[in-house]
C-alpha cells in the first residue's frame, strides 16, 4: 500500500471532502457545538468538512480508530504536535515575508520559513523511526517520509539552508552614535560596559527588584535608519548577502504536496484528542466502540452529553454519566420522568455517540457497541411562534412524515417532546400511529415523551426514567435509569460534623 491519506481509504472521499455541508441533525443534537469546540483555534485548517462527512464504511472507521489509538501514545502525539506547530510557524513566516518591504528582510523571513520546514520534516522522520507504530496509516506514512528525507532534493535544500542561517547569525557589527552621526563597522571585541556597571553596583543587590529595562516594542518591519544600517552591514559582509539573494530565487516552491496534506488531515485526530483530554483529566472515560452494521444490540456504559459536559467542566461542575443498552428485540428508548431530569440530554447523548463512532472517534463511555447507521433523523420541539398552534402541529406532522419517508431500516430516529401542542387524546393517537411505523421498520429510536403508554407499548420499547439527585442541588445533569433509585439520609452528631472526636483529631493532626 502506498501512502495516500491519513484520513481516507476511498479516493472519491478525498476529492470531494471540502464540498460537504453540516448534516441537518447537528443542531438538534448539539453536535455543532461539539465540532466548534473541537476545531477551535484551528481555523487555518478548515477542519469542519472532515467532521461533516461520515465515511459510512467499517474499514475506514477501523483505519481511523487504529490511527487514533496510535496517537493516544503521548510520544507520538507530542511529535506530531511539534511537527504541526513548526508548520504553522512556517506559514506565518511566509506570510510575513510577503508583507515586508525591504529586500534583505523579506529574504531572511523566507529563509527562516524553509528552515522550519526542513527541521519539521527531518525531525518527524527521526521521531517516527523511534516510535512503535501499529496503525496501517502511520506505517505507510512513515515509509513515505523516510524516502522523502533521503531524496537529493530534500538533502540539498537542507544543506543550503543551514549554511546560510549559520553565516548570517555569525554577523556582528557595531555602531557609534554621536549627535546625528552613525558609524557602522565590524565589531572589534570592545568590552561590555553594562557588565562593568552592573559589577560595580553589585554589592547593593538584595533580592528581587523592579525591572527597569524598557520593553521595546518589537515591530517586525524596519524604519529607514535600521534599513540603512542593514544595507551598510550587507556591504561589510558582501558574500553572505549575495548568496542569500540567489537562494531565494532557486527555492520558491519547497513544500512536498503529500506531506502538506498530511499535516492538515492529521489535525482531525489531534483536535479530537486534545478536546477529550480535558474530560479525561476530570475522570471521565472514553472508549473505542465496536461499530457493527448488523447488530442493533447497542450499548454504552458511562456515557455523557459531550456538549453539555464541555460547559459543565468549564464551570467546574460535576458531570453525571449514564448507561444505556438495548438487548434482544429492544429498539426504542421511551424516556419519561420529571422535567429537568436530563431527558433531552439522554436523547442527545445517544445520537452523539453514534455519530462520533461513525467518523472513527472514541466516544464517551468506558465500553460501547454502536450501530453503523446510514442517517440520523431528529425532531426536537422548538419554541416557535406561539400564536400559530394549529400550524405547529401541522408542521410537526409534515416533518415527521418527511422523516418516515426517508428512513431506511439502518437509520436512527430521535424524537423530543412532539405533539405537545395538541390534546392528550390526539397526542396518544398520533404517537401510536408513528410508533407502529417505527416498530415495523425496526428502527433504532429514542423518544422523549410525556405519554406513559408508549413505554410499555411493545416488546421493542424500553422505559427509561429521569431522576433528580436528592441531596446535591448543584448537580446539573441527572441519572436516567430503568428503575427508580433510593434516597439517602444522613445522621451526624455535631462533634463528628466538625471532626473533633478523639479519633478524628488524632488522625487530623498526624497527617
Amino acid at each position: 500500500m502506498v501512502f495516500q491519506s491519513i484520513l481516507f481509504l476511498n479516493a472519491d472521499d478525498i476529492a470531494n471532502i471540502d464540498l460537504s455541508n453540516e448534516p441537518v441533525f447537528f443542531k438538534d443534537l448539539n453536535i455543532d457545538q461539539i465540532i466548534d469546540a473541537i476545531t477551535f483555534g484551528r481555523n487555518e485548517y478548515n477542519l469542519k468538512p472532515f467532521f461533516y462527512k461520515s465515511p459510512n464504511d467499517i474499514e475506514t472507521i477501523k483505519y481511523r480508530q487504529e490511527i487514533m489509538r496510535d496517537l493516544e501514545n503521548n510520544e507520538l502525539f507530542k511529535c506530531i504536535k511539534s511537527f504541526s506547530e513548526k508548520f504553522q510557524h512556517m506559514r506565518e513566516d511566509l506570510k510575513q515575508a510577503d508583507k515586508l518591504y525591504y529586500k534583505y528582510q523579506k529574504e531572511r523571513w523566507f529563509l527562516d520559513a524553509v528552515n522550519l520546514y526542513v527541521d519539521a520534516v527531518a525531525c518527524l522522520a527521526n521521531d517516527l523511526s523511534q516510535i512503535d507504530l501499529k496503525s496501517k496509516g502511520f506505517i505507510v506514512f512513515k515509509e513515505y517520509i523516510f524516502d522523502y528525507v533521503k531524496s537529493d532534493l530534500f538533502m540539498s535544500l537542507n544543506n543550503a539552508t543551514k549554511k546560510l542561517e549559520e553565516d548570517l547569525s555569525s554577523v556582528k557589527y557595531s555602531i557609534l552614535i554621536r549627535g546625528n552621526s552613525i558609524k557602522v563597522g565590524k565589531y572589534e571585541s570592545e568590552i561590555n560596559y553594562s557588565h562593568i556597571v552592573e559589577e560595580t553596583f553589585k554589592k547593593f543587590k538584595e533580592g528581587d527588584t523592579k525591572d527597569y529595562r524598557k520593553k521595546f516594542s518589537e515591530y517586525t518591519d524596519m524604519n529607514h535608519v535600521e534599513a540603512k544600517i542593514l544595507d551598510l552591514v550587507a556591504q561589510l559582509y558582501k558574500e553572505i548577502f549575495e548568496e542569500l539573494d540567489d537562494y531565494c530565487i532557486r527555492n520558491s516552491h519547497f513544500i512536498d504536496d503529500r506531506i502538506g496534506t498530511f499535516e492538515r488531515e492529521v489535525q482531525f485526530y489531534m483536535s479530537y484528542l486534545e478536546f477529550i483530554s480535558k474530560f479525561k483529566d476530570a475522570g471521565l472515560k472514553f472508549c473505542y466502540p465496536k461499530v457493527d452494521s448488523e447488530s442493533k444490540e447497542v450499548f454504552d456504559y458511562g456515557c455523557f452529553d459531550l456538549a453539555l459536559a464541555n460547559k459543565l467542566i468549564s464551570n467546574k461542575s460535576t458531570v453525571v454519566t449514564n448507561d444505556f443498552y438495548l438487548s434482544g428485540k429492544e429498539r426504542i428508548f421511551v424516556v419519561s420522568g420529571p422535567n429537568q431530569g436530563g431527558k433531552t440530554t439522554f436523547a442527545r447523548t445517544f445520537g452523539q455517540v453514534h455519530y462520533l463512532a461513525s467518523i472513527g472517534c472514541p466516544v464517551p463511555g468506558y465500553k460501547a457497541q454502536l450501530f453503523l447507521f446510514d442517517n440520523i433523523f431528529t425532531h426536537f420541539e422548538r419554541e416557535e411562534n406561539v400564536n400559530e398552534l394549529h400550524g405547529k402541529l401541522e408542521d410537526e406532522l409534515i416533518r415527521i412524515y418527511d422523516i418516515l419517508s426517508k428512513v431506511t431500516s439502518d437509520s436512527i430516529v430521535i424524537l423530543n417532546e412532539i405533539f405537545t401542542s395538541t390534546t392528550l387524546k390526539d397526542a396518544v393517537f398520533l404517537s401510536k400511529k408513528i410508533i407502529d411505523r417505527i416498530i415495523d421498520l425496526d428502527l433504532l429510536c429514542v423518544w422523549v415523551t410525556f405519554i406513559d403508554e408508549l413505554s410499555t407499548y411493545s416488546e421493542k420499547t424500553v422505559s427509561v426514567v429521569s431522576t433528580v439527585v436528592p441531596d446535591n442541588p448543584s448537580l446539573r445533569t441527572y441519572k436516567l435509569i430503568r428503575k427508580p433509585a433510593d434516597g439517602l439520609s444522613y445522621a451526624i452528631t455535631i462533634a463528628e460534623k466538625y471532626g473533633l472526636t478523639y479519633e478524628h483529631i488524632k488522625e487530623r493532626v498526624k497527617s
Binding site: V197, F201, K203, E206, G207, T209, F216, I494, V509
Partner: protein
C-alpha cells in the same frame, strides 16, 4: 548589603503571612495595648512591631541573637535613634525630590538614577561615620557586623569608583553599541561597549587591520530618523540604566530594611521606658527547646493589664517541670484570665526576642500559639454557640502540630456540663497524645475532677486563690479543683447583702 538585625542570616519580610489566628491572638491576649505602648502613636512602628511580635521564632539561637541586640539598644538608646532617623531622612529625601525615575525611557531613567545615587552615597557616608564613632559601645553580634560591614563595603576607594562611573555614564563621547542580526535581519543583542583604548603607535595603527566603517548622518529635519536614532541609543544603554536604577532601588531597600528592623528595637525601647515609669520589672527570658516541657517563672504579670491600669499589678510564680496540661480552676474574677493572658503574652514576647513581663522567666519554645477563648459577646442561642466554638476549634486542629501550645478559656461550656466535659475530654486527650501543650481554664467540674482523679504526672492543677475571708488575692496556687466557683461571693459583693 544587608542589615540583619532581626535575623542573623536573612531579611525580615514585611509581606509574609502572619499566623492565621493573628486577630484572635491580638484580641484574646490584649496585644493592642502592648503595641500602642511600643508605637507611641507612630503608624510605621505599630505596623512593624505588630508583624514582628506575631511572627514567632522557633529557634533558641535566633531568640538570643535578638535579645543581645535589644540589650545594646536599651544601653544606647540615643545612638540607635540617630541611626533610625538617618534612615527616615534618606527615605523622605527620595520621596520628595526624585520623581522622574518612573519614566520608561532608559536615557531619562539613567539620568535620574545618577542624581539619586549621588544623594544615597552622601547618606551612606554619614551612616559609616556613626558606625566608626560608636563601634566600641556595642557588644551584640548583630550591631558589630552591621557596623563593620558599613566600614568595609563603603570605604573611600569604593566611593571614588562609584563616583567615576556616575560621571562616565553621562556619555560625553558618544554611545558605542554592538549588535547582531536577528529575525528578519533586524538588529538584536544591542550591547553597550566601552571603546578600546588606543595604545598602539601611529605606525602600528596604519599598518594593522584596515578597519572599514561607513558613516551616515540623519538630516536635521528628519524627525522620525532622530526618533529611530534615540531608540537605538536607548536599546544600547538599557541594561546600564537598569543596573543603576536597580542599584538605587537596592540602596533604598537597604535604608528601608534598616528602618524596618530598627523600628522593632525602637518599639521595644519605648515599651521598656514606659514600664520603667510604672515601676514594673522586666527580664530577658531563658528559652528552652520545644521538646522540653517547662514553665517556671516568678513575678509574671499581665503586661497589657499593667499598661492599661498604669500601675503595678498582681503577679504569679510557678515552677512546673515536665507538665503537658495545666488545668486552672477556681473563683470567678480570681485572676484566671489574667494569668492565661500573661502566659500567652510572655510566650509571644519571648519568641519574638523581646524581654518579658516578669522577674524571671523560662519556658520551652512552642510550635505555634493558639487561643480558644469563650466569646462573651456572642448572644446566639446555645446550640449555635457550641457550633461556633467547635468550628473555631476545628480551625485550630487544622493548624496545630506537635509542641504547639493552646490556651483554652472556659471552652465548650455552651452546652450542659456532661456533654461539655465529654467533648473537652476527647479533645484534650487526643491533643496530649499528639504532643500539644495545653492551658485549660474551666468551670466544668466534672471534667477537672475526672482529670484530677487520674493522678497523671504530666498534669498540674492550679486554682484561683480564695482567702478564708472570701477575698481574692488574684494569685493562683497549685491545688485540686473545687466544686463551686464562688459565684455566691460575687453575688454577695455585687448585691451587697450578706
Amino acid at each position: 548589603m544587608k542589615t540583619l538585625l532581626l535575623y542573623k542570616n536573612r531579611d525580615f519580610d514585611m509581606k509574609q503571612d502572619l499566623p492565621w489566628n493573628e486577630q484572635m491572638l491580638v484580641q484574646d491576649l490584649g496585644l493592642n495595648v502592648v503595641f500602642d505602648a511600643m508605637a507611641k502613636g507612630d503608624e510605621f512602628l505599630y505596623d512593624v512591631v505588630y508583624k514582628v511580635v506575631l511572627t514567632s521564632l522557633y529557634d533558641i539561637d535566633e531568640i538570643l541573637y535578638r535579645q543581645d541586640i535589644l540589650r545594646d539598644c536599651l544601653k544606647n538608646p540615643s545612638v540607635v535613634r540617630t541611626i533610625y532617623d538617618i534612615a527616615v531622612e534618606t527615605l523622605e529625601n527620595e520621596k520628595k525630590n526624585f520623581w522622574s525615575i518612573f519614566s520608561s525611557y532608559p536615557s531619562s531613567i539613567l539620568h535620574s538614577s545618577i542624581e539619586l545615587m549621588y544623594m544615597y552615597v552622601d547618606m551612606l557616608i554619614k551612616l559609616r561615620k556613626i558606625a566608626e564613632e560608636n563601634f566600641y559601645k556595642f557588644e551584640s553580634e548583630g550591631f558589630k557586623s552591621l557596623f563593620s560591614m558599613l566600614q568595609k563595603e563603603l570605604n573611600d576607594e569604593y566611593i571614588e569608583t562609584v563616583k567615576a562611573h556616575l560621571k562616565e555614564l553621562k556619555f560625553e563621547n558618544g554611545v558605542l553599541i554592538s549588535a547582531e542580526l536577528g529575525k528578519g535581519n533586524k538588529g538584536i543583542n544591542y550591547i553597550l561597549r566601552k571603546p578600546n583604548e588606543i595604545k598602539q603607535s601611529l605606525i602600528e595603527k596604519i599598518f594593522s587591520k584596515k578597519t572599514t566603517a561607513f558613516t551616515f548622518y540623519i538630516a536635521d529635519r528628519d524627525e522620525s530618523g532622530m526618533k529611530a536614532l534615540s531608540e537605538l541609543k536607548d536599546r544600547g544603554i538599557n541594561l546600564a540604566a537598569n543596573a543603576l536604577a536597580q542599584s538605587a532601588d537596592h540602596v533604598n531597600g537597604f535604608f528601608k530594611m534598616l528602618k524596618t528592623e530598627l523600628a522593632f528595637y525602637v518599639g521595644c525601647t519605648n515599651l521598656y521606658e514606659e514600664l520603667t515609669k510604672i515601676g514594673e520589672p522586666i527580664c530577658f527570658p531563658v528559652p528552652l527547646s520545644a521538646e522540653n516541657r517547662r514553665h517556671s517563672f516568678s513575678g509574671l504579670y499581665d503586661i497589657s493589664l499593667s499598661l492599661t491600669m498604669k500601675k503595678r499589678v498582681v503577679s504569679n510564680d510557678l515552677n512546673a517541670d515536665r507538665k503537658d496540661l495545666f488545668v486552672i480552676t477556681g473563683a470567678n474574677q480570681g485572676g484566671k484570665t489574667t494569668f492565661l493572658r500573661s502566659i500567652g503574652l510572655a510566650q509571644l514576647m519571648m519568641q519574638s526576642g523581646m524581654f518579658v513581663a516578669a522577674e524571671k522567666f523560662s519556658a520551652n519554645i512552642c510550635a505555634g500559639l493558639f487561643t480558644h477563648f469563650k466569646r462573651e459577646e456572642d448572644d446566639k442561642m446555645n446550640s449555635g454557640k457550641l457550633d461556633e466554638e467547635l468550628s473555631r476549634m476545628s480551625d485550630i486542629v487544622d493548624n496545630v502540630r506537635k509542641n504547639s501550645m493552646i490556651l483554652f478559656n472556659e471552652s465548650f461550656a455552651a452546652t450542659n456540663e456532661r456533654e461539655g466535659s465529654e467533648i473537652s475530654r476527647q479533645i484534650i486527650s487526643a491533643l496530649l497524645e499528639v504532643g500539644v501543650k495545653i492551658f485549660f481554664v474551666t468551670h466544668l467540674y466534672e471534667l477537672s475532677r475526672s482529670l484530677y482523679d487520674k493522678k497523671l504526672d504530666n498534669v498540674i492543677f492550679l486554682r484561683a486563690e480564695r482567702k478564708p475571708d472570701g477575698k481574692r488575692s488574684f494569685k493562683l496556687v497549685e491545688d485540686e479543683p473545687l466544686k463551686t466557683s464562688y459565684g455566691e461571693d460575687l453575688y454577695k459583693k455585687i448585691f451587697k447583702d450578706g
